[in-house]
């Protein structure tokens, strides 16, 4: 993993968990898997603090532990991927809300905030938040069960061998989605505080299944891409061949022209959909590798277009289409003045979008033309570079955010104090007038200032989410290579 990722990780940990956990996390990132005492020694933190930090990290699935060679000591290591995924939480929530509604969203939110929870914890917490009636509990339970069935959450594997000093966790795939037994009577009693919650004896823990969310996001990207390239119907077509359910009502055009869509999409130069056989209309396959390769190409082209100009993007696509291109051919085929063509292609070379290969001419080894050079593209290495750039951009956005907070600390703190006072007074039943007086402690110029800071923060937060979208596309490309 790159140093850029390391920097992003330490900022994420710092932002969400504070300096101690950041220190432990950064240590684990730099030195890899290590036992407790080493972590303590290098970070120079009190043992209690290190333990606490590790607990929090493990609870949030941001670190794991495995037995050392001698089986008595555990080695801790960081789950880098999972830390980066925390940036994606807002996306998971909006996805589940759209698909399942409010209660499931709250359940996922609870899990994301707490790492793992038991069946009853999830159901009761959500029920309490909604202040729902005891009779409504089965309803909440059903929502919960539907999340398991749809595989958005799965069981946390339990230790398979508890005798060992450092437990080993089983990875029994088939049991991951087994439905729990839920004693509704006891649950209702616990909800009504008739029995303590600890008496439920619940020992099944649940965690969010990120992969399932990524599947949805993966499909959504493709559907969006199809809508952009063809039309709404084509997007729906893609959904259909995935779900194999025909929603005839919503897209009448798709039904009328189903066969035509098949032909057009199948024959598209992108080659994303392939047809197999003819029996009962044939079957289709979405070629994910092809699809994400296409998207990666386009993504790179966009970056070149914005970073340089349309002529540079044209040169890049020329090399893409021809695979190997002689520098002299570029001006002619791309129809760009030779000086500009040269300048741009070497700029692309310098920024690693193009690569150069030198070939010796077989016969003549004298004279000016003894060797010639060819431009070519190594998409995978570009994708990796762009991924780096994404992390750098994330790091920059987050650094800027904490910097803005730092330079405006005085005014932000003041606002916080005023808010706390106002809230306290409101709780004591203060009058409107009194509250307004408190509000006035913030002067109009200060208010203006605060609004400005707020706007900047929002902008940077949105940027972070959008960058994560790009990261997702790039990761999908690498995944299907």
């Amino acid at each position: 993993m790159s140093s850029q990722v390391g920097k992003v990780i330490s900022l994420i940990l710092q932002e969400r968990f504070g300096p101690v956990i950041e220190k432990v996390g950064t240590f684990l990132f730099q030195y890899g898997s290590n036992p407790l005492l080493y972590i303590k020694r290098t970070t120079d933190l009190p043992l209690g603090k290190v333990k606490e930090a590790l607990c929090v990290l493990i609870k949030h699935r941001l670190a794991i532990f495995k037995p050392n060679k001698n089986e008595n000591i555990a080695n801790y290591s960081l789950c880098i991927e999972n830390i980066l995924l925390m940036m994606r939480f807002p996306k998971y929530l909006s996805l589940i809300k759209k698909k399942f509604g409010d209660e499931p969203e709250m359940m996922i939110e609870e899990l994301l905030q707490n790492g793992y929870l038991t069946t009853s914890e999830i159901i009761l917490r959500v029920a309490e938040k909604l202040k729902c009636d005891v009779n409504n509990l089965p309803n909440v339970r059903d929502k919960f069960v539907s999340l398991i069935i749809a595989k958005y959450i799965n069981r946390l594997p339990l230790p398979s061998d508890e005798e060992k000093p450092v437990p080993i966790f089983g990875t029994n795939e088939t049991e991951l989605f087994t439905l729990p037994k839920i004693d509704m009577k006891k649950l209702a009693q616990a909800y009504a505080n008739i029995i303590p919650k600890d008496d439920l004896g619940d020992n099944v823990f649940w965690v969010v299944n990120y992969d399932r969310f990524h599947q949805d996001m993966r499909d959504k990207c493709l559907v969006d891409a199809f809508i952009k390239r063809f039309d709404e119907n084509a997007g729906e077509f893609l959904l259909e061949i995935r779900d194999i359910v025909r929603k005839k009502v919503v897209y009448p055009n798709l039904v009328t022209f189903f066969d035509q869509y098949v032909t057009v999409i199948e024959q598209d130069s992108s080659q994303i959909i392939r047809k197999f056989g003819e029996a009962s209309g044939g079957s289709f396959q979405i070629h994910l590798k092809e699809a994400y390769t296409q998207l990666a190409w386009e993504l790179v082209e966009q970056v070149i277009l914005e970073k340089f100009d349309s002529k540079a993007a044209r040169i890049f696509r020329l090399v893409k289409l021809k695979k190997f291109v002689e520098p002299d051919q570029i001006q002619q085929l791309a129809m760009i003045p030779s000086k500009e063509a040269k300048k741009l292609s070497y700029l692309l070379l310098e920024e690693n979008f193009l690569k150069l290969q030198e070939l010796k001419k077989p016969q003549s080894n004298t004279g000016p033309n003894k060797s010639f050079t060819l431009f070519y593209i190594d998409l995978e290495s570009i994708v990796r570079n762009l991924l780096e750039l994404c992390y750098k951009t994330l790091f920059n956005a987050m650094t800027r955010k904490s910097h803005e907070r730092f330079v405006n600390k005085r005014i932000i703190d003041k606002k916080q104090r005023v808010d706390t006072i106002a809230m306290g007074m409101q709780a004591q039943g203060a009058t409107e007038e009194q509250l307004a007086d408190i509000e006035e402690m913030i002067t109009p110029p200060e208010k203006e200032m605060l609004d400005k800071i707020d706007k900047k923060m929002k902008k940077l937060n949105i940027e972070e989410l959008e960058i994560d979208g790009t990261i997702f596309l790039l990761q999908m490309y690498l995944k299907y290579q």
Partner: protein, 291 residues
């Protein structure tokens, strides 16, 4: 398919030149596109010559069985002449003549001068490198790689002209696709109706009257290829020509290009410490102030 020999026969019989329409009349059952392809091939090999007479384009036969050796010249001249003859209408660079002929520079310069004054050969400035001259036989029409074709005026590439043409070609394709879509009848029909050949586009461009020089079908193919390279159109092989069609991209602007860092020219020099850093970055400041 139309054989080139058929065209050549027709042209040979008309030493004064023959027009496009005459050719069409003589072979009525051939497709126009096929004729155009055959004519283009002949023009390329140099067996046909295009000239204008009273505003009309005419073709004329040109004997390409080359002049053999330059009479009345000494051996060195003959050698050099042969080398230049071999290079055809792409011409040959003086350094290459020197390597092939083994003459020294002063000798070679003398020979070239002499051949030039006798009008056996000529020097042509090549567009591929501004100070490079290439030599070819006197009565050869330089290849378009040397002159740059329609796109060059006195060795200067007419970039803006190309850009305008490229835009217009794209406009034509987009409008065609748009119209096809509006007509309905399903996506397949719409797609098939959105295809255009270079000949269609050529007609459109000619009718627009934006070009001072007359453009060939091949010129239009070159322009259309830039539209393809810009990822605005797709080119498919059909028969022995190409079909073009406007296409849409897959992606909306991605997150990375909407940020300052994603397109920052000095990103590689930007770090968390040092003069260029995100805390003080002007690009970021400006972007944050924008509403």
């Amino acid at each position: 398919m139309v054989e080139e020999s058929v065209i050549l026969e027709l042209v040979k019989n008309k030493p004064d030149g023959i027009s496009n329409d005459d050719i069409k009349e003589a072979i009525p059952d051939a497709k126009i596109e096929d004729i155009a392809v055959a004519i283009n091939k002949c023009l390329k090999t140099g067996s046909l010559e295009l000239f204008q007479n009273k505003g009309k384009l005419l073709y004329k036969f040109k004997d390409i069985s080359q002049k053999t050796a330059a009479k009345g010249s000494d051996n060195e001249e003959k050698v050099v002449f042969r080398i230049i003859e071999e290079a055809g209408n792409k011409g040959i660079w003086i350094r290459d003549i020197r390597f092939k002929s083994n003459l020294n520079m002063t000798q070679l310069n003398k020979v070239l001068k002499s051949l030039e004054t006798k009008k056996y050969i000529k020097a042509v400035k090549s567009v591929s490198a501004s100070k490079k001259k290439v030599y070819m036989l006197y009565d050869l029409e330089p290849d378009s790689t040397v002159t740059g074709g329609a796109w060059y005026q006195d060795q200067d590439f007419e970039s803006e002209f190309v850009d305008v043409l490229s835009q217009q070609c794209l406009r034509f394709l987009t409008e065609k696709a748009e119209e096809a879509r509006k007509q309905g009848g399903g996506p397949l029909l719409a797609r098939n109706k959105s295809y255009a050949t270079a000949i269609d586009v050529h007609k459109f461009i000619s009718d627009l009257g934006i070009s001072k020089v007359s453009l060939s079908i091949n010129d239009i193919e070159s322009i259309l290829y830039t539209v393809v390279l810009d990822n605005n159109a797709e080119r498919t092989v059909s028969g022995d020509g190409y079909l073009y069609r406007a296409i849409n991209r897959f992606l909306d602007p991605i997150g990375l290009v909407k940020t300052t860092c994603g397109v920052c020219p000095i990103a590689s020099r930007c770090a968390d410490t040092g003069l260029i850093n995100p805390k003080v970055c002007e690009y970021l400041t400006e972007w944050l102030e924008e509403s």
